[in-house]
């Protein structure tokens, strides 16, 4: 019997399938699980058991990685509810959102070209605010309203905003070094 792939990541960690999870508990369970299945526990045992342990430890790592990051956690929750936000292409976004994104993108490019660290920092903070409110939206839609379509919409926006924030961070790092 291979790893039981029917159990989803929340079930594997004994957690309710909610966006708002207790991250301290998540980390505790992760460590408890790894201390049971990690290959270091099986290094002196026969090959078949070493292989089984590697499959489990790989699965536990994948689950932890997915649940720990809020974006991948949201995407995973939507996926087990039948909404794929990871592989879809050609999703139409509302024009006002796209306009705002373009403006921010231009501001980032200008600040980068002018080596304007303060400008980039300000942009970073504004993006932080938007990220926080979008995650709050995701949590409300998934955990309280069970409105997966609305949650998916917020996740798609988040993907845009997070990518832009990464670019701003990279520009800041380049200026710092």
């Amino acid at each position: 019997m291979a790893v039981d792939f029917n159990r989803n990541f929340f079930e594997l960690f004994g957690l309710d399938p909610l966006f708002g999870i207790d991250t301290v508990e998540l980390e505790r369970v992760y460590r408890d699980l790894q201390s049971q299945v990690h290959p270091d526990r099986y290094a002196h045992l026969p090959e078949s058991q070493r292989r089984l342990s590697m499959q489990w430890a790989t699965r536990v790592n994948e689950a932890y990685r997915t649940l720990r990051q809020p974006l991948s956690r949201a995407q995973y929750l939507l996926e087990i509810n039948g909404v794929d936000t990871r592989h879809e292409s050609n999703t139409a976004m509302p024009p006002d959102f796209l306009m705002e994104q373009m403006e921010w993108r231009e501001a980032a490019a200008e600040a980068r070209a002018a080596e304007d660290m303060d400008g980039l920092e300000r942009l970073h903070h504004r993006l932080d605010g938007q990220v926080d409110s979008l995650f709050a939206e995701v949590e409300a839609q998934i955990d309280r309203n069970r409105n997966h379509a609305a949650a998916a919409d917020a996740v798609r926006r988040l993907m845009f905003v997070l990518r832009l924030r990464d670019e701003v961070d990279e520009a800041l790092e380049a200026l710092e070094s």
């Binding site: 960690f13 004994g14 049971q36 270091d40 002196h44 058991q49 089984l52 790592n61 994948e62």
Partner: protein, 623 residues
């Protein structure tokens, strides 16, 4: 109600039975072997009481091989056949090795891993490293009085896949069972962290003879979690020697030295460097074979000035790892110094300034890696005691990916991912009726394939002919707990299994390793079949012991009939292993027993997981 002792996986089922295991620090300049004796990690010394084995291998015309001090004493007289710092060549091509023009070796200009032509024939770095490992294995067996169950061998955290694989191949040639390849800074953290019962975020600054590693770990409740690692696989104490050597050539008015004099002066450069750790000035005195002589004075400040750029070069990876971990220098609770090169005062000063605190140097920086490796080997061998309950969660240092259109890299597994890890990616055909597809596996952070390390190329054949874009080829990357990558590919839509052949770019193929193993045995008058029978018998014993321990602990997971099946499989296995049969029969028996216990093993794993979720103490359960 009785209390039943249930052994956790990895905990010794029979406490009186101590399995022999060692930790080996296979260093650029020196190597060490250590073990845990009566609960205390100790470095094993040679007959003359010396803990270090210089990582120097000399090949002689009669086929004999000198390793360590005897080779070291001949290096100036026989530089062509005396290989120093062989670690720098592991898993590397000739063009990757720095300062080749200054080295006295007769390099073979061929594709793949660099090789050296010696008086005893062409040698690969893997073979030379195996000679060092053999000496350490014999030292350990003589000192511990028995055959080793296995060894933990340390590698720089920043070693790529080819370098790790080369290290594992060397161990195989040396007849060592590798329990784990362990990252050097992580090994140091074990030795350090357990000694000091530390909690919090620690950094390990490891400047060895030829490699630089920097790792950030979070220590809590017996878990060592590596948050980020970075480094430079070609930067170490050797480079400081090289700087002094160049300074000698610039300041002593001598003709360009031949290979012998070059080695002599390089040794003088190293002596001067070491002298400057505790003194303000060093005198460089040498009489050369050319009849010329050198008489120079080097001050500590002068040495610090000429190596400033090397020290600065280590801070780049330090910043990168902090960034990856999302931390600032002030978030680090302590900085552990590892590697002989961290004895240099200018290095300690730079680290202290960067982190705003004095680095921790209370463990011998040259021994700490071997001691940590020994502690981990003890645990992996199954000698774990209840109070030695720790867990290592390590990461992969460099991203792994595939080449895509236009020479671009597609990252499959990002750097600093916790291992073991697996990721799959789907690809498709771009021509109608296409039946084969080739892949190029690379490692590194750069966008262009030509700036990354090439690991291997492989081809998937036997794809059923379909229209372009219809085939779905799933490529899976699996990185195991040694940090080693295995790649597999299959066509998903038809379910047809296609065959994969992998050609490593800078490694040895399985056939080459098998060939070297055979040659080595013929040389030693060993019999291949006898050795492989012995190995299979050991494995058979291991499977029987593990199965019996499992039956003892968890028989309740089996029905009476299932239990009877397993017991009869054990009996058959025992007959096979004890009868003077051939290795293939024993191997088939091992596989049959493994087969018979697969379901049982899966149920036990499931039980462990359920208990972990229930938060129960597993070693004491009320029944």
């Amino acid at each position: 109600m009785a209390l039943l002792q249930i052994s956790e996986p990895g905990m010794s089922a029979e406490p009186h039975k101590h399995r022999l295991a060692v930790g080996i620090d296979l260093g650029t300049t020196n190597s060490l072997v250590a073990t845990v004796r009566n609960g205390v990690p100790v470095v094993l010394v040679d007959e003359e009481g010396r803990p270090l084995l210089p990582s120097i291998v000399r090949y002689r015309a009669d086929g004999a091989v000198d390793v360590g001090y005897p080779a070291q004493s001949m290096q100036a007289r026989d530089p062509r056949n005396t290989i120093v710092s062989v670690k720098r060549f592991m898993g590397r091509g000739l063009k990757d090795v720095a300062h080749v023009e200054m080295m006295p070796y007769d390099f073979l200009d061929a594709e793949g891993m660099v090789r050296v032509r010696t008086v005893a024939g062409v040698k690969s770095p893997v073979e030379a490293s195996a000679e060092i490992l053999k000496v350490l294995r014999r030292r350990a067996e003589a000192s511990l009085g028995g055959e080793l169950l296995g060894a933990v061998i340390t590698v720089p955290a920043y070693f790529d896949d080819a370098q790790r694989q080369a290290t594992k191949d060397a161990a195989k040639l040396a007849g060592l069972n590798v329990l784990r390849l362990l990252n050097e800074p992580t090994a140091a953290a074990i030795a350090y962290g357990l000694d000091n019962a530390s909690q919090g975020v620690y950094a390990v600054y490891d400047l060895g003879g030829g490699t630089f590693d920097f790792s950030i770990l979070k220590l809590s409740r017996g878990v060592f979690e590596v948050l980020a690692t970075s480094g430079d696989a070609a930067l170490g104490g050797d480079d400081f020697d090289q700087r002094v050597y160049c300074w000698i050539l610039d300041h002593a008015s001598i003709a360009p030295p031949d290979a012998h004099d070059a080695r002599r002066l390089l040794l003088k450069a190293r002596e001067a460097k070491e002298h400057l750790t505790g003194n303000d000035e060093a005198v460089v005195l040498a009489n050369l074979g050319s009849g010329e002589s050198v008489n120079l004075m080097l001050s500590r400040d002068g040495f610090a000035d000429m190596t400033r750029h090397l020290v600065a070069k280590t801070l780049g990876p330090v910043r990168k790892a902090l960034r990856d971990a999302g931390l600032k220098p002030r978030d680090v609770n302590g900085v552990v110094m590892v590697g002989g090169a961290t004895r240099m005062p200018q290095v300690q000063k730079a680290v202290a300034e960067f982190f705003g605190q004095d680095p921790l140097t209370n463990l011998d920086p040259e021994k700490v890696v071997a001691l940590g490796a020994a502690m981990q080997a003890n645990v992996l061998a199954g000698n774990r005691q209840a109070d030695e309950d720790w867990l290592l969660l390590d990461v992969i240092p460099l991203s792994l990916g595939l080449e895509t259109m236009g020479g671009l890299t597609e990252k499959i597994i990002p750097r600093n991912s916790t291992i073991p890890i697996a990721k799959a990616q789907d690809f498709t055909t771009f021509k109608d009726g296409q039946t084969a597809m080739s892949f190029h596996v690379v490692q590194g952070e750069r966008e262009m394939v030509r700036d990354c390390r090439s690991l291997a190329r492989f081809e998937l054949r036997g794809i059923p002919p379909m229209v372009a874009g219809a085939a779905r080829i799933r490529v899976t990357f699996q990185v195991d707990a040694d940090g080693l990558l295995a790649v597999s590919a299959r066509e998903m839509s038809s379910g047809v299994e296609a065959s994969v052949t992998v050609k490593p770019s800078y490694g040895l193929t399985d056939d080459e390793v098998a060939g070297m193993l055979r040659d080595g045995m013929e040389h030693a008058g060993d019999d291949m079949e006898a050795r492989s029978l012995r190995e299979q018998q050991v494995e058979a014993q291991r499977v029987i012991e593990a199965t019996e321990a499992a039956l003892k602990a968890d028989a309740h997971l089996l029905s009476a009939a299932e239990r009877a099946d397993i017991e009869s499989a054990i009996a058959r296995m025992r007959q096979l292993a004890e009868g003077g049969s051939n290795s293939r029969a024993v191997k088939a028996g091992v596989e049959a027993l493994n087969q018979a216990t697969t379901e049982f093993a899966a149920r036990r794993m499931d039980q462990s997981i359920r208990r972990a979720l229930a938060g129960q103490k597993v070693d004491e359960i009320r029944v």
